[in-house]
């Protein structure tokens, strides 16, 4: 599988703020990657750098083998759906879809028309009169129907209701299956999208904290629940990601357990439960320890 994006030693500073801090990673062709992280973690900055909309302070970016900055041959293969895309002042919705084919060689007008219908988008309305959700739908339709070899969605669902978000996920998955391409999806709604992702990049405070396949991550943590003494003696020697306790009970999240560990836990009367991707990411980027002291 070939590499589409190669980033090494990348930093971006705004004054004294390090938005992206010495980051290195690659994106493989035709995978859906989730770019996850908290507000202000550096997700949008990173995508702006990858699409040549910001200049790197330090480091190297290769997209389709070349720098994306001012590089038409690279940029024409990229579609970047921003959270707050601006459109020309007097544009009505249909102007957006009429001009999209000028920028995207693979534009599928029939698919766009189907999506406009499904999202119930009023095509004669002025873009600036649209609701927040409708504006998001415009971006999603452009992002899907452009079928760009490298597509970025930056929090594309703001203001969309649950039905419309599910429609987006379903159409993305169906169209990706038919027309494989490289997709980067930046999102807060990890539980909603985690099953769509093949790869996960977790960014925290400008640094990459997780760079792994989603399926590996699903297997990478377990929560152990039981009496405090039993849990403590079991987790000794394991990497502890998170700990909560209440009274004599403890709930501790640890790294991967093998079959032997699981048998030992069962024998000690401990309960094991899997940790979802969302929970794992909260564990990795949130506070690590919380004690509930029993009040008398």
């Amino acid at each position: 599988m070939s590499t589409i994006v190669q980033v090494s030693g990348l930093s971006k500073t705004y004054g004294s703020v390090r938005a992206v801090d010495d980051v290195s990673f690659t994106l493989e062709e035709n995978k859906i990657t989730g770019l996850l992280g908290r507000n202000g973690a550096g997700k949008s900055t990173l995508m702006s750098l990858l699409t040549g909309q910001e200049f790197a302070t330090r480091g190297d970016i290769r997209v389709f083998g070349a720098s994306p900055v001012e590089n038409a041959s690279v940029l024409q293969k990229i579609c970047f759906i921003k959270e707050s895309q601006r459109y020309p002042e007097d544009f009505v919705v249909k102007h957006v879809f009429a001009s999209a084919p000028w920028f995207f060689a693979n534009w599928d007008a029939d698919f766009a028309a189907q999506l406009i219908d499904e999202f119930r988008l009023p095509t004669d309305r002025r873009v600036k009169k649209l609701s927040r959700g409708q504006l998001s739908a415009v971006g999603i339709i452009v992002g899907l129907a452009s079928r760009a070899p490298l597509t970025f969605f930056d929090e594309p669902y703001l203001g969309l209701d649950a039905v419309a978000r599910q429609l987006f996920y379903d159409r993305l998955l169906e169209d990706y299956a038919e027309h494989p391409r490289t997709v980067v999806l930046s999102t807060h709604l990890i539980d909603e999208v985690s099953m769509l992702l093949e790869h996960v990049l977790l960014i925290d405070d400008g640094r990459i904290v997780i760079d792994d396949d989603a399926e590996n991550l699903r297997n990478s943590a377990t929560t152990v629940v039981g009496t405090r003494a039993a849990v403590d003696s079991f987790v000794a020697g394991h990497e502890v990601l998170h700990r909560e306790s209440i009274g004599g009970l403890a709930s501790v999240t640890v790294g991967t357990l093998d079959a032997q560990d699981r048998a030992a836990a069962a024998a000690a009367g401990l309960e094991l439960s899997p940790v979802s991707l969302q929970q794992l990411i909260i564990r990795k980027t949130g506070t690590t320890t919380r004690e509930f002291e029993q009040s008398a």
Binding site: K31, I32, Y169, D170, L173, E174, Y176, A177, E178, P180, D191, S194, M195, L196, L197, E198, A214, E215, R218, N219, A266, S273, P274, V275, S276, L277, Q278
Partner: protein
Amino acid sequence: MDEGRPLFVQLAEQIESDILSGALPEETQVPSTNEFATFHRINPATAGKGVNLLVDAGILYKKRGIGMFVAAGSRARIVAQRRERFENDYVRPLLLEADKLGLSREEITALITKNITEGTSR
């Protein structure tokens, strides 16, 4: 599918259960990887991994240019595998819970006999 376990393993188990129940009879074609992916709303690569797990195990086989089929004899093999795991997956947890509740062996046996005669399980 639940979030905490690898999805490809869950998909493979689901397909095996469908073979076991007869929903996917032997020598019939199973849905394509992309169909599994869109049906279960999971990444196609993940679905492919689950299907390949069963191809490697000889439960499914590929007909070039046509698709994926359930292998002859695979139902019996799945039954054998699951019988092997039955003690570990069902009987031991049952006894562990019964122990916590202080149920005696006689009481457990009586409960199982009662359920069998009442026809809860068949």
